[in-house]
């Protein structure tokens, strides 16, 4: 029973972080039609910035907010420097077909990922370093019993819940959020009704960058920080986004928690070595049974 509870709580806390990663992927997919494989590279980079600040004596929260800001700025810069020029090149023969239009931004994002990882290796050495948590990582004791969850788990879950509420309010209640949803729905029509679609695109990159940096800050205390540590997180986040529906923010959150549970239960009841294979199995299962994902809309894009 205790193992079950431990797996459940670890799955919830991990799942919350995967939900953030998947949400970041979904926001860029809706805003720009690109799956950003560099996303966790950006998160890794901004977490290193926070780590450097904190080791040099800054407060945890200074590092925390600087990292979020750096993540947002990096996302916006990547869109302006790489992705926007790329989408303006659609007229060239290489990019004229639909399949290559989908493939080339993915290649660009892989290049960005490689560059960020190499740069982090040069700047901050390749060996792993720890990253501090703002709350205790020992099991909480309630009435003398050590519970299977930590105060850091509670911190993670509440931060993610807060972020999801703010994001939902942003998309539903603000005019900028409305403009972004309109752009996601139909770029031409949005443009015709006076929305500057280039700006909403860049904004979606920035929001996604901040969300994934938050994920980086929340996951590194339990894993360690090195240029490659977040690669697995990206894979899980991608699978979560596909499971939930690549164009559905609510689906991304759902997918994140499903993946969190799958990974946690495989780790607790089977062996951690099977985690990759179970992720692959979940991904293939969804792609075969319901390619558009649990909450994905029907014909936004053929899979």
């Amino acid at each position: 029973m205790n193992t079950f509870l431990a797996a459940l709580f670890s799955g919830t806390s991990r799942g919350a972080i995967f939900a953030l990663v998947a949400l970041g992927l979904v926001i860029v997919w809706r805003g720009a039609g690109i799956v950003n494989f560099a996303q966790m590279g950006q998160a890794m980079f901004s977490t290193y910035i926070a780590s450097t600040l904190i080791t040099n004596g800054s407060n945890y929260w200074v590092g925390f907010f600087v990292a979020l800001f750096a993540g947002a700025a990096m996302g916006a810069l990547l869109d302006i420097l790489v992705m926007r020029p790329l989408s303006n090149k659609k007229k060239t023969e290489l990019l004229s077909s639909e399949s290559m239009r989908a493939a080339v931004p993915v290649i660009a994002s892989l290049g960005i990922l490689g560059a960020l990882q190499a740069l982090a290796g040069i700047l901050w050495a390749a060996e792993e370093r720890g990253f501090p948590a703002p709350a205790k990582q020992e099991g909480l004791s309630v009435g003398g019993n050590v519970m299977p969850f930590t105060s850091f788990d509670i911190f993670v879950i509440s931060v993610v819940a807060l972020t999801l509420i703010i994001t939902t309010l942003f998309f539903k209640k603000t005019s900028v959020g409305l403009a972004m949803r309109a752009t996601a729905l139909n770029q031409e029509v949005a443009k015709l009704s006076g929305i500057r679609t280039n700006r909403t695109r860049t904004l979606s990159w920035a929001i996604s960058g901040a969300a994934s940096s938050l994920a980086g800050l929340l996951i590194t205390p339990t894993s360690n920080l090195s240029p490659n540590t977040l690669d697995l997180v990206l894979i899980v986040g991608f699978t979560a986004a596909v499971v939930g529906g690549l164009d559905s923010p609510a689906g991304a959150v759902l997918g994140g928690f499903i993946l969190g549970m799958v990974i946690s239960f495989v780790t607790f009841y089977d062996t951690p070595e099977d985690v990759f294979l179970s992720i692959l199995a979940v991904l293939l299962l969804v792609l075969i049974i319901r390619p558009r994902g649990i909450l994905g809309s029907k014909d936004v894009r053929r899979v």
């Binding site: 993915v106 740069l119 894979i235």
Partner: protein, 307 residues
């Protein structure tokens, strides 16, 4: 090339062998992505299939590598068939992401089935020594030079097949799928079936490359990391994703880049940290610049703008 090979020292002979071997792998990307428009990040995993097949056949069944390698190409082709059946339903980022998950998941099998694949330790194999008749005619080659002699006929064969298949009926169908699936199917191309075929062909190239790559000394998870798939893709894009000469140019760039950087920066006192990561930083930046500024790559300057 053999003349070149004989003039080089052992290190450069080994590098030349790597160029020949990876060229075959890069061709697999050129065929899959450049010709038929399917982006796969799992080519490294298919190379691993080829490498492990060869190693197991040589170690457990005492086969000569000239028998083991063709059998490994078949086994990689079968892996490609399975991948193709799954991939025929997918496109664009879905395919890229799924193949990336596969590339990460396959190497963990080495630890899962410890008794067969020997985990992280891997299976030691090598190209062995040339047969007596070879040494009698050409003289006793060094180990590195023998690697080149083994890789060369396979690379030539791969080059021959690749250039012919691109001009064949299949090549035309694959280009049609890349350019417009709907139009292709209206012209009688069964695109699901053709996608599976192109995956089989591409996987066979990758398997051959992986078999030779492992025969340099070791077949193990560390020999076929995910970054290997990205290296192949980088080489194919830098050289020119649609052309065979581009595949060769890209391979040369990717293999020799670390040496060139060391030559240029050798006078500066660089820390180990910088010199370890500089090649991958520069090749990543080259990849981004190529995609943004000249997506046709070094060899593909003939691409013209559409009206």
């Amino acid at each position: 090339m053999l003349v070149l090979g004989s003039r080089f020292d052992a290190y450069n002979q080994a590098q030349l062998a790597v160029v020949l071997i990876l060229f075959i792998g890069v061709l697999s990307v050129t065929i899959l992505t450049g010709i038929s428009g399917q982006l796969s990040l799992g080519q490294g995993a298919l190379m691993a299939v080829g490498g492990y097949s060869t190693a197991l056949l040589i170690i457990n069944h005492k086969l000569s590598l000239w028998v083991a390698i063709p059998l490994s190409i078949i086994s990689a082709g079968i892996a490609g068939l399975l991948l193709g059946v799954a991939a025929a339903r997918l496109s664009g980022p879905y395919l890229a992401g799924t193949t990336l998950v596969i590339a990460l998941a396959i190497p963990t099998l080495a630890n899962r089935f410890m008794s067969i694949f020997k985990g992280d330790e891997g299976l030691p194999v090598d190209v062995g020594y040339p047969p007596a008749w070879f040494s009698n005619i050409f003289g006793e080659p060094s180990y590195e030079k023998w690697q080149i002699y083994v890789a060369l006929p396979f690379a030539a064969l791969a080059l021959f097949f690749a250039s012919n298949i691109l001009l064949s009926r299949s090549g035309r169908m694959w280009r049609a799928i890349r350019d417009n699936e709907l139009a292709a199917s209206l012209n009688g191309v069964n695109y699901s079936r053709q996608k599976i075929y192109v995956f089989i062909v591409s996987a066979s190239f990758a398997g051959l490359s992986g078999a030779l790559y492992g025969l340099r000394g070791l077949v193990g998870p560390s020999v076929y990391p995910v970054s290997l798939s990205l290296t192949l893709l980088t080489a194919a894009v830098l050289g020119g994703i649609r052309s065979i000469s581009g595949a060769f140019i890209g391979t040369v760039i990717v293999v020799y880049l670390p040496d060139w950087i060391e030559k240029v920066l050798g006078n500066f006192e660089l820390s180990e940290q910088v010199s370890n990561f500089l090649p991958s930083l520069i090749s990543s930046l080259l990849l981004i610049l190529t995609v943004v500024i000249n997506p046709a790559g070094v060899a593909g300057t003939r691409l013209h703008k559409h009206k």
